[in-house]
Subunit: 215 residues, 2 copies
Amino acid sequence: MSDAATHTPTPAERRRHRVRQTILDAAERVFAEDGEAGLSIRRLADEIDYSPGAIYKYFESKQELVDELKEAFFARILDRVEDLPDDPDRFLLYARKCMTTYIHTALDRPHHYAAAFSGEVNMTNTPLNLSPFSNRMKAFGILQAMVNGGVTLGIFRADLDVDLAAKSLWASCHGVALLMTHMPDLPLAFVGRPDVSQTEFIEAHADLIVRGLLA
Amino acid sequence: MSDAATHTPTPAERRRHRVRQTILDAAERVFAEDGEAGLSIRRLADEIDYSPGAIYKYFESKQELVDELKEAFFARILDRVEDLPDDPDRFLLYARKCMTTYIHTALDRPHHYAAAFSGEVNMTNTPLNLSPFSNRMKAFGILQAMVNGGVTLGIFRADLDVDLAAKSLWASCHGVALLMTHMPDLPLAFVGRPDVSQTEFIEAHADLIVRGLLA
DNA sequence: CAAAAAAGTGAACATTGTTTGCTTTTTGAA
DNA sequence: TTCAAAAAGCAAACAATGTTCACTTTTTTG
């Protein structure tokens, strides 16, 4: 909308953007391999043949850089969930698919997922001032719409509080994703059941939640 | 069982144990206030009037110290959940209470809870070699027993995979606890519903999960 | 009581994120 | 084209971190 946004970029701007992207790409690589703990400014600078200080010409802080990685990751989740075909005739299938897709995407990039939620604990009970337009919030919006659709179709309980239910649903997927990335032994081998695959567990979970919502 | 375990402690041992406990207590205080990020060896040393190096006469590393805090925290959860009256006549009440108690205990010490699960991401799919006797695993065992009890009583579906269901249940509580500690705005004010209290949300969640298990 | 073990200290090391001068390069108008 | 200003980049330094080391002091023990 603003001049700056619609301004046709100069060569300098394009170059700057490209370097910025190079940094983000390198960060993405390191992050996927060694996670947030393995991501240091110096290592990043090394990988792209710059000095550590140079990074700070492109990002205010390491935090800002990591935040962009997180946002990009949520865009990835959003893409996948958005693309699911939501045929009303197969609503329950769609509902389960929303959940399993979310979890599987998290499992694809465990470090990203862990980092995305590793922010500070908010003791103050003060809202975090999350933009409702962040990809994270948009992804949540899809879940809300899904639950709402289920109620409208008469498949889910009519007395459901859609917001609360959507949050429960999200939280449950969140928990499964974290448990599986942080303690892969727990969902699988720990109880001596190597026959149950990750996928089966995830589907069983989605099924459980959906059952809880049924009319 | 061994001599060392049953050995009546010498004065020196008692003193050593007391200093060790002093360190843990100070860590507990700092941790509850400022979380893992605020806990530095130097600050700890400052609080208890020792030098930083002295801490290392009592703990191999900061990690070992933090691990003890975590284990103590799980003992806290375990205590609370163990103490719940499990009257078979009020089984559903008990089932929900297991979940809500877990979540409320987590919310009591948000920093502890966050730290307790902030371990490294396990990419290898190799079991973490968690002792089945850790308080964490014991707490999980209670959930398993609860689900199993529900199936036996004929209240939960007979075709339930008890292990999987217990894990789903745990994961869902885990997710709720993390979501509420890390994004307190989400469960409450974000969607413009300041009328729904934390407690109500937690109970709605427990209800949802239990419904999913019902026969 | 003396030797050995333990407790404790303060300085040092390596590694972090970040800042600061300084040099080099690029830009944009006279 | 020229040349000052702006941007990009670098090496060094700073502060804070976990941890170690050499050393002193205290306590235990034969």
